[in-house]
Amino acid sequence: LSVSTGAPDLAAAGVDFEDIDEAIEHCYRSGWTDGLPFLLPTERRVHSILSAVDRDPLEVVGKIPPRNGTATIEKIAINAAMAGCLPEHFGVLLAAIEAMLGAEFNLNGVQATTHVCAPLTIVSGPAVSGLNFNGRDGVFGGGSRANVGVGRAVRMVLWNLGGAKPGDIDKSTFGHPGKYAFCIAEHPEDNPWEPLHVARDPSLSAEDSAVTVFACEANRNVADTHNDTPQGLLNVIADALRTIGNENTYGGGQVVVVLGPERARVMKQYGWTRKDVQHYLFDQARRSVREMKKAKLIRSTPRWVNADDPDAMWPVFEDVDDIVVLVAGGDGPHSATCSGWGEFGGFAATRKIDFPVGRT
């Protein structure tokens, strides 16, 4: 083993080995991994990733809290290499990291909270098909190198640059399976509406590709084999959204609602827009003041709700846009909800993916 100053054109320190197993164990001993197997961050692999973007390797994207490690393009690439992220997906990863560094996301809090949330990356636009992201069957599960590579790379960046290690800075009571990898894509065909990023940022177009990041719980399945109208299907989802103990019921904030393609077809059949779905869920996801007081969950009350009337219906969400709706997954009578971190942060943030000229 010997330590060097890295490759001539890279700033990161390098460590030399003559045995691959020694190199792997060095990474584990150094605390550079989250416990899962990984790829070695070799110069060749890192160079290959860096070649996929027109960015200066020494450009500082930001500091990753709470440890505040400086995230240069090069350091992010090294972590991407460890995660098995392919070069063509590096631009997606950079957009996700940049989105998470916005003030509204409060990455510092997301990384350190006792809450269970983990940053979810949602890919939308032509990049879904063009770069082989999975927005279909088993969208939250494995099987897609694109989803896993980007999701895991996000985690490695948060781990090695942000220092979010359980029992240390990461104080999450239970952790989250998505803290290994948590990346999905919008369904590339069965989405009856504009891409998610266009709905969230009208300055973007359907020809753009983008990521939306959101700190949330794991997907909760909502099964329903009986309803076949928008109202019927959304009533069941709304009931899941207003569960006592749910972070949104407890602390407001936002939620991601994922409609499977079967549900999306019903919405299309009845001419319901994405906004219609949001409005309906906003109206239905309420509990009575009596129930909220019984559960000691009354927080700041909207002016239009009479908190002295036990039968008044109290909204779980403050705004229809707090309900982020997208279509993903395979066929089956299911939807999913991912509750956020209440009013504390991790709010959905959308950012366009920049590809080098000539690439999409």
Binding site: G6, A12, V15, F17, C27, P41, K63, T70, L161, F344
Partner: protein, 106 residues
């Protein structure tokens, strides 16, 4: 039967950990008096982060107050329990105190 033999090729791996640069998050305030060793006679500030009724920094300040004779304890709440206090909070607190408990760790 083909036997795989270890390659003599050197493997160089790159450090994925980010450089941490020292950062001053609180504004520098010139002390107008020198505290005696310890906190005797000091005004102790507490940056509280009350969540679900637990106010640990305040409890720590009170415990310190039982050990040494403080002049006063000044308590100021963080604007958000989930975000670090900003410069405005420190500017408001700094003129009132000699020392501040800004955080605790175990």
């Amino acid at each position: 039967v083909q036997t795989l033999t270890p390659s003599a090729t050197r493997i160089r791996i790159l450090d994925p950990v980010g450089v941490i640069e020292p950062e001053v998050t609180a504004p520098a305030v010139k002390a107008d008096r020198q505290l005696s060793p310890g906190l005797e006679g000091a005004v102790l500030g507490v940056l509280t982060n009350v969540f679900r009724g637990y106010d640990v920094p305040q409890a720590v300040a009170e415990r310190i107050g039982r050990r040494v004779k403080l002049k006063d304890i000044v308590r100021i709440a963080k604007p958000s329990i989930s975000r670090p206090a900003g410069a405005d909070t420190y500017k408001k607190l700094a003129p009132q105190v000699d020392a501040v408990i800004v955080g605790l760790c175990a």
